[in-house]
């Protein structure tokens, strides 16, 4: 194996024999030889980076994990970094196969679904244990779900459970009695869940941290049930039921989880230890991987993607991801209150050019809001790049050749990647529509504020799906939804989403959603740009990490192939 990146391998030897030897000879020759040998010896040592993973400890995995986790309380976190760690520390009722994303037994060894699709009965395995040895019971799940739905806890992600009967009412404080929420403990090892509507993705949601059980005794030892920021999540106090348990948590340095001996399937877990390194700076993360200090990274800096693909295709992994990057138009403000203008702007974006030359990293051009790859759902596609049609629409709207078009700006939150996309699109609109739009970047929180108060013309946005289902993307644009942020409101669209929710069959449901998405693309309050990919680096001998839409890694099945 060669060192991590070829262009660093330019060998030290040539540099030192390249010099003018005649002059060198006149110098203190011995000294020179000494220096050269020292440097060669040292660079030889560093050349051993050639196989930076050869002496690795096969029971430990070192993972670069982006930002530092804000907390480890599954009811209070909201980020991806926390999700990765929490999925090693907890286990839900159901696991997903990381290769196929099909439900597999977790804490529940089996389950039944009622014929109307609204009632799940889970049978919990008797061998499931907390990391302190206590048995995991149906009561633990009911407690956890009651806790996250408790209004005074103020969980930012509680809406994930709103598909459970009456959960929304309880969460909003309109219902006092939790026994009316569709969660019933039939006996310590049987849990029944009644849903508001048939929810085909309910099982796959069980790998989301909001559905994990929590250990009541531990939480209430350190505070009230609805208290934020108590010390129960610290190493030493923490009790989970996952394949790993929290061993060490030194903020901004390292978080270590170790094999949980009480885990019901502990014998199948290969890794003894996972070290999560929080590293914000992408370039630093890549460097640490290159010198062999990390075995798996959270992402790859854009400029490094092509060199890795060229030189080390076995180390870089690119796969589709359940996320869409799109532009919002403010439909409440001139000129984007006119659907023709919105469509013209969308038609004038050359998405193939954008993904090939600007965003790169294997990302696919987006002509729909929902990403491709959702099983059984083929999203409708908006019209492809068509500058003539765009100009025609613009002329119809009263701006022939862009004349008389009011000044507008693209709003984005400060980040180099967003700036580049905005600059490319700015150029495309200038070339294809003759319109010069301005750019405006704002700090993240200011930007969010501008979005929700509709104080923008065009704004960069993204949506990363929490569950693999189109409704998760589409429901954002129902009237008055907090994620709408475009002012778009269509009773027909709202009706279609509502019909899809209560549809009796999967095919009917997807048909309604397809119609809704088609309408959304025609009305064009948004212009989808590209679908995200998940890009990461991994040591060649690590096995068991599979590409999937959720970027889900099942660490209990990850292992080193030491041969």
């Amino acid at each position: 194996m060669r060192p991590a990146i070829a262009y660093h391998k330019k060998c030290r030897e040539t540099q030192f024999y390249d010099g003018n030897t005649a002059i060198m000879a006149k110098m203190h020759f011995n000294y020179f030889v000494f220096v050269v040998f020292t440097i060669l010896a040292l660079s030889y040592v560093s050349c051993q980076e050639a196989d930076v993973w050869s002496r690795v400890n096969p029971s430990v995995l070192r993972v670069g994990n982006g930002a530092e986790p804000a907390d480890l309380d599954p009811h209070l976190v909201s980020g991806v970094t926390e999700h990765v760690i929490l999925s090693t520390l907890f286990e839900g009722l159901v696991n997903l196969n990381a290769r196929t994303l099909q439900p597999m037994p977790g804490v529940a060894e089996s389950w039944e679904l009622s014929p109307d699709g609204r009632e799940y009965t889970f049978h919990l395995r008797h061998s499931a244990r907390w990391s302190n040895g206590d048995p995991v019971t149906a009561e633990d799940f009911a407690y956890a779900w009651r806790r996250i739905l408790t209004p005074s806890l103020g969980s930012e992600y509680a809406h994930m459970l709103h598909c459970i009967q009456n959960a929304r009412l309880y969460n909003e404080g309109k219902l006092e009695d939790f026994s009316q929420v569709g969660v019933r403990v039939l006996d310590p090892h049987t849990l029944r869940v009644v849903l508001e509507h048939p929810t085909p993705y309910f099982l796959s949601m069980q790998i989301h941290f909001t559905y994990f059980p929590v250990h009541r005794g531990t939480i209430e030892r350190f505070g009230r049930m609805d208290e934020r920021g108590t010390q129960w999540t610290r190493a030493g106090n923490f009790v989970g039921n996952g394949a790993f348990q929290l061993d060490r948590w030194e903020p901004d340095r390292i978080l270590v989880v170790k094999r949980n001996p009480y885990y019901w399937n502990a014998s199948m877990v290969s890794l003894n230890e996972i070290q999560f390194y929080p590293i914000d700076n992408l370039n630093t993360e890549e460097l640490l991987f290159r010198v062999g200090r990390l075995d798996l990274t959270s992402t790859v800096p854009l400029n490094k993607v092509e060199p890795y693909q060229r030189n080390y295709p076995e180390k870089i992994h690119i796969s589709p991801y359940l996320g869409t990057y799109f532009y919002r138009f403010n439909t409440k403000r001139r000129p984007f209150d006119d659907v023709r203008v919105r469509r013209a702007f969308s038609l004038a974006i050359n998405r193939d050019d954008l993904v090939r030359n600007v965003v790169r990293a294997g990302r696919a051009p987006a002509f729909s809001l929902t990403p491709k790859g959702i099983e059984n759902y083929i999203p409708p596609e908006s019209a492809p790049f068509n500058p003539e049609e765009a100009r025609r629409l613009l002329a119809q709207a009263g701006y022939p050749e862009g004349v008389g078009f009011p000044p507008v700006e693209i709003l984005f939150n400060t980040s180099e990647d967003h700036r580049q996309v905005a600059e490319a699109i700015q150029a495309m609109w200038r070339e294809n529509l003759g319109i010069r739009v301005g750019l405006r970047n704002q700090d993240w929180k200011v930007y969010l504020n501008s979005l929700s108060t509709l104080d923008y013309d065009i704004a960069r946005s993204a949506w990363i799906g929490d569950v693999i289902d189109p409704v998760n993307f589409l429901e954002c644009f129902t009237s008055g939804n907090g994620n709408n942020r475009t002012g778009f409101s269509s009773p027909i669209f709202d009706g279609l989403i509502e019909e899809a929710r209560s549809a009796s069959s999967v095919s009917e449901r997807f048909e309604r959603l397809r119609e809704a998405e088609k309408l959304l693309l025609e009305e064009a309050p948004i212009a989808p740009l590209y679908f995200y990919t998940r890009v990461f680096l991994m040591a060649p001998n690590v096995q068991g990490v599979y590409p999937n839409l959720l970027g889900y890694i099942d660490f209990k099945n990850v292992f080193w192939n030491v041969n």
Binding site: D73, P151, G154, E156, G173, D252, I279, N283, R293, K445
Partner: protein
């Protein structure tokens, strides 16, 4: 001396008060709150969280509460990283920044001072020119360029040093160097100027006439006199080293207070911003005081100023 000390300590109070007030209102006036995110958070959840942190009270009430809490030594919980209080975070992060700052100071002194002395001793020779051009260059290269360059050369090409992290002693070389170089350059320039002035004075000529070795003349006789401006510079330098380490901490992933502050500011973690700013303000005051004390100690005339 004690009176001087106490008087200066008393002056801390209005400054700290000013800092708290300014920061408190600046931060609260800014658009966006700590709990907004890419995905919409329901009004109800927001209201509950704000109630838990007393953020729903009128602003002046919150301000008053904060002031009284600070007087009792309570900086509140961190809003965005809730499982530690701000005080705990500072206790965890500040020692790292302090350590990094100290190493940076060592680098600054151990490179800057000899360079300045050397340049002054060999004034107007090539040594002087090279050293001083180096010093000027050192001031001109931003540390966010210098850091990655040092990493590229010493960690990647040569493979001698680690690329980042803050665990083993060897990890700390590159961050300290990156942080200290600018200050080394300033110290080199300052000490050269001062040294030249001292070297031209009569008592040096006398010392040379007595036949003392050049080493003794420069280091025993001239250097103490040339140190004063350097000492005066150390106050602002130390403060700058401690508060100006954001970039270095980010590049080398050093778990210090600087990145904590930046993150808090970007996340609107109100209590954390207040806490870190307070630490920085007290530090700067402290170092200014320290420098004045050293001055008073070196030059007794100042004590009765």
């Amino acid at each position: 001396m004690a009176g001087f000390f106490v008087r200066r300590l008393m002056e801390f109070i209005p400054v700290v008060f000013l800092v708290i007030t300014l920061t408190f209102f600046l931060v609260r006036l800014a658009p966006g709150g700590p709990f907004s995110g890419e995905k919409f958070v329901s009004e109800e959840a927001l209201r509950q969280i704000e109630a838990q942190y007393n953020l729903d009270a009128p602003l002046f009430v919150q301000y008053w509460d904060y002031l009284t809490d600070v007087l009792r030594g309570d900086l509140g919980p961190s809003l965005k990283r809730p499982n530690r209080s701000v005080t705990e975070w500072i206790k965890l992060k500040f020692p790292v920044s302090l350590e990094l700052g100290l190493y940076g100071l060592f680098v600054a002194l151990f490179i800057g001072l000899p360079a300045g002395v050397l340049a002054a001793r060999y004034q107007n020779t090539w040594i002087d020119r090279v050293t001083m051009s180096g010093a000027t260059a050192g001031i001109c290269i931003p540390n966010f360029v210098l850091g990655p360059l040092l990493v590229l050369v010493f960690a990647i090409w040569l493979g001698w040093l680690p690329v980042a992290l803050w665990e083993k002693p060897v990890d700390k070389i590159l961050p300290s160097l990156t942080l200290g170089v600018v200050y080394a350059a300033y110290i080199a320039r300052l000490s050269r100027t001062a040294m030249i002035e001292v070297l031209s004075q009569d008592f040096i000529r006398t010392a040379r006439a007595k036949g003392l070795s050049e080493f003794q003349v420069v280091f025993r006789h001239a250097l103490p006199g040339a140190l004063q401006p350097v000492v005066a510079f150390l106050g602002p330098a130390a403060a700058g080293l401690l508060t100006g380490s954001f970039v270095v901490e980010n590049i080398f992933r050093v778990p210090g207070l600087g990145t904590e502050f930046i993150k808090a500011a970007l996340n609107r973690d109100y209590t954390m911003i207040m806490g870190t700013v307070l630490v920085f303000a007290v530090l700067i005051l402290f170092f200014n005081l320290l420098v004045d004390l050293i001055h008073a100690w070196i030059d007794p005339r100042l004590r009765h100023d």
